[in-house]
């Protein structure tokens, strides 16, 4: 009984207006016209950027490798269609700063011709390690938005004692319905992907968590998982941020991931439903991750929809297809409205992590008029990590970052619940993002100052060594000279 009580606990969170109705009832559109040019960034994942293996002028087929991964945590990038590479250069990144990122520009030839590759036989006969190699080679990253290379997580599963694979079908962000539609329409494929992942991780069971505002998706997944008793599909309450891994883990398994720890510490690893679907496509059909379902929604969109587009499609082309009113668009957001990034313009490409593109009107975004904190503590009750957002923000405002870390800044997940409930419109989560970045900068500065000290010491040592050497040489020279003089004198006296 106690266990049951503990298991059903949810901490914090908010119930935001969902805005999902406009897209959740329509099938995923697959008729997006192939763009003339695709802008495929070489870094669409956490870790090191991929290194191009093609050159300008090369002809490539759909699914062909464009850039291979670098180091332990990285992911390769593939051609989203067939055509010619016309440029490999710096282009604006889909990031709030729109700073340049190395990008391969692919001019499509309209044929959309696949690269022919032999299919591996029955994947369940393969070595589990082989599965993560295939997943890594297909460039699959976490499609929920974090874009962490999935193969690394599968390997982690084999190395640690993982008893449960959690599949995140929470999709707790307002507006987004791409996972919802994927589960409704492609549940069989997702379940197959989950089975493949279980095989790759050597894990026995999987639990799919779906928020209870998606009954159709729940039903479809339930039906598809019937033949496999080790895959459980469970409903979870609709409360943002239910899709946060720790929240879902706490709810579904009753275990709390320790602060500073990882989900693997409690024997659980979580993947997104979109990732499971990509794993199915990579292993069963030999198709790398070259397209994804994107939710296009928001008040300025005339035809909101979920649409499957090739990676590298410009957001502006997507907006044209969905009839976005440019004048009414006050803010463009990539991802969900709670955690997504505001983009400065729409000439930026769709990447692997783009779950949604929102064109929000003035009415939908909050006015920025801030007021002083009234210490109502609504942010404290909304924080899913159990932190004190108001105190942290105060300390950060006074530049006391270490003091903010002392009360748990590092456990903040930037979910935005505190900013959402704040009646004074204080940009709390902005403070935390600033502070986290600043801490990284300080760490780098610290590292650099250590390096500098080492460089200075090296230089001083070298100068001392050279000086000593010169002195020794000088001494030797003087000694040789004295010797010569002596010999000369001796000869002189002899003569």
């Amino acid at each position: 009984m106690l266990k049951l009580f503990k298991k059903r606990r949810i901490r914090g969170g908010v119930h935001a207006e969902e805005h999902k109705a406009s897209t959740s009832g329509q099938p995923i559109a697959v008729d997006f016209p192939l763009p003339k040019k695709l802008y495929i960034p070489l870094q669409q994942h956490v870790g090191k950027a991929a290194e191009p293996v093609v050159r300008v002028g090369d002809r490539v087929l759909k699914g062909q490798l464009l850039a291979h991964s670098q180091g332990m945590i990285s992911a390769p990038v593939h051609a989203s269609s067939s055509g010619m590479i016309v440029d490999i250069n710096d282009y604006p990144a889909p990031h709030p700063s729109a700073l340049p990122i190395r990008t391969v520009v692919l001019e499509t030839d309209g044929e959309d011709k696949w690269l022919e590759q032999p299919l591996a036989g029955d994947p369940f006969q393969l070595d589990p390690e082989e599965i993560s190699l295939l997943v890594g080679a297909a460039g699959i990253v976490g499609l929920g938005g974090a874009a962490f290379p999935s193969a690394v997580k599968l390997n982690l599963g084999r190395k640690n004692k993982i008893h449960t694979l959690l599949i995140n079908g929470g999709e707790c962000e307002p507006y987004l319905t791409c996972d919802d539609r994927l589960m409704q329409e492609r549940a069989v494929e997702i379940i197959d992907g989950i089975r493949l992942m279980l095989h790759g991780m050597e894990t026995g069971q999987a639990i799919v968590g779906i928020e209870d505002n998606k009954p159709a998706a729940y039903q479809a997944m339930q039906d598809a998982s019937l033949p496999y008793p080790f895959i459980k599909v469970e409903q979870v309450p609709t409360r943002y941020p239910m899709g946060w891994d720790r929240q879902l883990i706490r709810y579904l398994t009753g275990n709390e991931v320790p602060a500073g720890g990882r989900s693997a510490d409690v024997g659980v690893i979580m993947h997104n439903v979109g990732t499971a679907y990509s794993v199915h496509k990579a292993i069963r059909l030999n198709q790398p991750l070259i397209n994804r379902v994107v939710t296009v929604a928001g008040g300025a969109v005339a035809l909101p929809m979920n649409i499957e587009v090739p990676i590298g499609t410009l957001i502006s082309e997507l907006f044209a297809f969905c009839g976005v009113d440019q004048d009414a668009t006050q803010r463009i957001v990539m991802g969900g409205p709670m955690m997504g990034d505001a983009l400065p313009h729409s000439n930026l490409p769709i990447v692997k992590a783009s779950s949604g593109i929102l064109a929000l009107t003035r009415k939908e975004i909050r006015s920025t008029a801030q007021q002083p904190c009234i210490r109502c503590a609504q942010c404290v009750s909304a924080c899913p990590a159990g932190l004190l957002p108001l105190d942290m923000a105060n300390r950060i405002r006074n530049n006391q970052l270490d003091a903010a870390v002392d009360i748990g800044l590092k456990d903040c997940i930037s979910c935005g619940s505190c900013s959402y409930v704040c009646p004074s419109n204080i940009p709390l989560v902005h403070y935390f993002k600033y502070a986290t970045g600043e801490l990284v900068a300080r760490q780098q500065a610290q590292h650099k100052s250590e390096q500098t000290k080492r460089l200075i010491d090296d230089r001083n040592a070298r100068i001392a060594r050279i000086k000593k050497q010169q002195e020794e040489e000088e001494e030797a020279r003087l000694a040789a000279k004295a010797e010569r003089e002596r010999l000369k004198n001796e000869q002189g006296t002899l003569a």
Partner: protein
Amino acid sequence: MFILTAVVSLTTLGLILGLMLGIAAKYLKVESNPIVDELEALMPGSQCGQCGYPGCRPAAEALAAGEASPTLCPPGGSSLAEQLAKLLGVEIDLSDVKDPELLVARVSEDTCTGCTRCFKVCPTDAIVGAPKQIHAVVADACIGCKKCVAVCPTECLQMHPVEVTLRNWRWPKPSVSEEVATC
């Protein structure tokens, strides 16, 4: 015979006095304030003198004696001020501390004559080159001390702000003035 006596007595004297000095150095050692050492270790160590003290050690001594504020070091910025305050156990108001703008030196290839003067003065060996070859700055190792700018005969070395890339881009601090203006 006289010589032998002199040599023996002086050697004995020298040995005894040396032994006494050695013992005195060990047992009567003047200990330096350990907090000063700790403070000095935190400081940049470039002896730039921007704080008004002749170097990092005197500045650390002044800090330990309570004559200077933890915010005294401009190159260290607020990060260092916070560390110093923590070590000294004092509360400080950091809202006025400006973090220094990071600069790196860059060689203009049109005007570099390959005179080698700059890389001889660079304290971190951040400039590479050879006589009559164009020199180059390794930006990661440059600490922005401007010593090379002073010795360059053709003014081809200039300080530039560090380029903002996706790797070092950070969220700006939310402005407080906005908040005050609306309340």
